[in-house]
């Protein structure tokens, strides 16, 4: 019984320590229209080391997210395949390795 409790607690604690990023929209591989803003819907658990979140398009930082869950409007993207990343950073603004990236095609 005690072992089950300890294992459960350890499993519950592990994701919180490591953190995670989920991009709910747009979907990976989605096709989006050019000249239209795109809603980035996300959910973040910054983990023990994370503090806030940066948004990148093709490796260039385009925004700062201080809420751990919500919606961020990406400016219209130029045509072609684009990589959108959401990365958790620490207080010194260093990405800690907790991130998710998706590819979208702008048409």
């Amino acid at each position: 019984m005690l072992q089950v409790l300890i294992t459960s607690l350890a499993l519950a604690a592990a994701p919180a320590a490591e953190g995670h990023v989920r991009i709910m929209a747009p979907a990976d591989g989605a096709r989006i229209e050019r000249q239209k803003p795109t809603a980035l819907v996300y959910e973040v658990n910054p983990g023990a080391r994370g503090e806030h979140v940066h948004v990148y398009v093709d490796g260039k930082e385009v925004g700062i997210l201080r809420q751990l869950k919500g919606r961020y409007t990406l400016k219209p993207l130029s045509p072609g395949q684009r990589t959108v990343c959401v990365k958790v950073v620490n207080r010194a603004h260093v990405p800690i390795g907790v991130e998710q990236c998706i590819k979208v095609t702008v048409e």
Binding site: A48, R49, H54, K60, E61, I64, V89, R91, A92, H93, V94, P95, I96, G97
Partner: protein, 137 residues
Amino acid sequence: MAAENLAYALAQVLHNFGAVVVVGGAAFALWAPASPSGSGKQLAQLVGLGWAVQIASGAGFGAISYYYYGRFPEIHGVAVAALAIKVACAIAGLALALLLQWRVEGWPEARRRHSWCALAVLGATALSAAAFLRWFS
């Protein structure tokens, strides 16, 4: 995790005290009653030390990040401009403080006062830029 936080905290302590010295030292030189000890050479040394600490601790933030994550902080836009202003102020402040320390005894009062004014402006500008660096990244 604890060691990483401790390293960042110690760098922040040095950075904070460096900021106090560069602004407070220059303000003291401008507004405090004239010291009987003379020219302000020792105060110039202290302010120069403050700027050196600012540069070292600022670089320390980058070094700590690189040590723990293999990369430097990622900043852009306004934050990059703010960092550039801080670096420029620190270099100019250190140079002026060193010059003041070496030449102050031969300078007329007006030139000393202008130098301390410039150091105060550099300190205030660097501190203001720090706020933008903090909140635009």
